[in-house]
Assembly symmetry: C2
Homo-oligomer: 336 residues x 2
């Protein structure tokens, strides 16, 4: 099966590059509301899995036991930009659970937020593990390990009780067997692969307040929707879309062209994967879908994610990134 | 027509992302030696066009008149990393033709070579137009304008004699009409679109010393092959592949997933385009093709472009980028 072209990038009068991909929209019962392209082959949700990876943290009572607020829960679901608002909170959180940066299994990488990165370079500083975009997720894993009374060391291994709790929750929410294929994510934690349709269903269980796991799901969705910049960073697509959504939608990006969406008022989960892994395309697709669902309230920054100008080094507009026909003409199922 | 999957990127036991694309290999007479995927629709060669954009500079006598050496000719064909070896030479070249940085139409962008960029940030410096990866190409355009005795200002406009000379040369070498569609490149100069098969033919005319334009073609191929790092930069794919090729092959990357190859001993040109514009894929494809042609001499750095490890922030290998079946199983035409 060849997935349809969802996004095209133009230059002058021609389409220069195209991005294929697939989209699944499901409800919590697993009913597919939309299936475009291959929604059956397993895909890695990558960081778009984080809201579900945070479920055991909340459901186990660990979050409550350690007095985590919405900000920490949002950071547990974050791919953050390494801004001060992120690193200060993660550092304080680690201290609260009796851990240090050395306990984090994620490695350092260049800080995404330019002003911080430039200032660090100017001072000759190197990034720490707390700057890793996944440090909040890892702080969440450590918190769960503490709460379970299991060794903190090795919490990122597939066989560790923390990761097994994640696998069990994901399998149940997605309606798949617990023997999902998995790979090692950029941050060293396991990432589980599952059909896009099943991932959309898992996301829908976080959207649907009548679903099982409702209390934890509500907490996570509320924490993310209330803290768009903590989940991502200044100006990032997730922040732009959640701000445009005014609390009506939660989205989470993932590496290699994945995006997840949770729409409580519709009880649906949205999962999409760009075949080639391009983030520029996944951002256009999720923004276009939210616009079709009437969730962007005419927000200009969000609209520019749908149709983004391609500029050159002289800041001239020389083309645009836009939905291709299969996406532009897509009719989403009516409400209810 | 759906192009075949040429490259796949794995994680754990699964293929996580794939890249489709097309490949054309032709001789100077326009005979297609290989056509995989769509080689008919127009594509922008982007910076892989530079060896041909440099042809009028040499053929007009401008290069000789201003005493340009192989290093300047190589820089005219370069997408350079902004290292000192590049910027010092471009600055001196501009001075030689009575121009300054202000005459360059290309805008500034972050310097690609990390040590230079970090040092600049640490000193609070901003990049200049000379740091633009295309500054050598633009110095070449300016040199041609000087030689033609036409105004320097506006040399980057489609209607300027410099760009018309480029269009005329490209059309002739490629065997297409002069009314090619065009767009504005990242550096503000026009970039002309043509079928991949025709672009491969144009490249072959630089490979085949019996073709018209032989003297200029030989000069450009020699200049590039002799200065792999000036054409690209320390550790860049073009430099790695040309060093591995030991003078037997010239390659040039282009944005949005294009790669060009020139193989004088076979009299062929190679042109490829990745549908989605991914550089990681275009590098794997050109490297795999050169390996099949016996041009990499067992070089390890070049082999790692074919099968590249995917690492995470802990430097663990978590997957690999590799040729997919359509590329791995490709049988190239026998020599002669």
């Amino acid at each position: 099966m060849v997935n349809p072209i969802l996004v095209e990038v133009t230059r002058g009068t021609l389409v220069e590059s195209v991005h294929r991909g697939s989209i699944a929209i499901a409800d919590a019962a697993g009913t597919l509301k939309l299936a475009l392209g291959d929604v059956v082959s397993p895909v890695y949700p990558r960081s778009s899995l984080k809201p579900i990876q945070a479920m055991p943290l909340v459901e186990s009572g660990a979050a409550e036991a350690f007095g985590l607020g919405d900000e920490e829960v949002a950071l547990a679901c974050a791919s953050h930009s390494g801004e001060r608002m992120h690193t200060v909170r993660v550092a304080a959180w680690l201290e609260r659970i009796g851990c240090t940066e050395a306990d984090l299994a994620c490695g350092p990488h260049p800080v995404r937020y330019e002003p911080v990165w430039r200032a660090m370079l100017a001072r000759g500083e190197t990034p720490s593990r707390i700057h890793n975009n996944c440090s909040g997720k890892h702080a969440g894993f450590l918190t769960l390990a503490r709460h379970l009374g299991v060794p903190v060391a090795g919490y990122e291994k597939h066989g560790h009780p923390v990761q097994q709790a994640v696998a069990k929750t994901l399998a149940e929410l997605a309606g798949v067997g617990a023997d999902m294929p998995w790979g090692v994510d950029g941050c060293a934690a396991p990432n589980f692969a599952l059909p896009l349709a099943a991932f959309a269903r898992a996301l829908a269980t976080l959207a649907d307040p009548t679903a099982r796991h409702a209390a934890a799901a509500r907490r996570i969705v509320h924490a993310m929707a209330s803290n768009p910049e903590l989940v991502s960073g200044t100006g990032r697509a997730c922040a732009v879309l959640m701000r445009a959504g005014r609390g009506r939608v939660v989205v989470k990006t993932g590496a290699e062209g994945v995006f997840a969406g949770i729409v409580p008022e519709l009880g649906i989960g949205i999962a999409l994967k760009i075949d080639d892994g391009a983030t520029r395309a996944s951002e256009t697709v999720i923004a276009a879908l939210l616009e079709k669902l009437g969730l962007l309230h005419g927000d200009e920054a969000a609209a520019e994610l749908i149709r983004a100008p391609v500029t050159n080094t002289r800041d001239a507009v020389v083309g645009e990134r836009r939905p291709a026909a299969a996406l532009a003409d897509l009719v989403l199922p009516a409400r209810g």
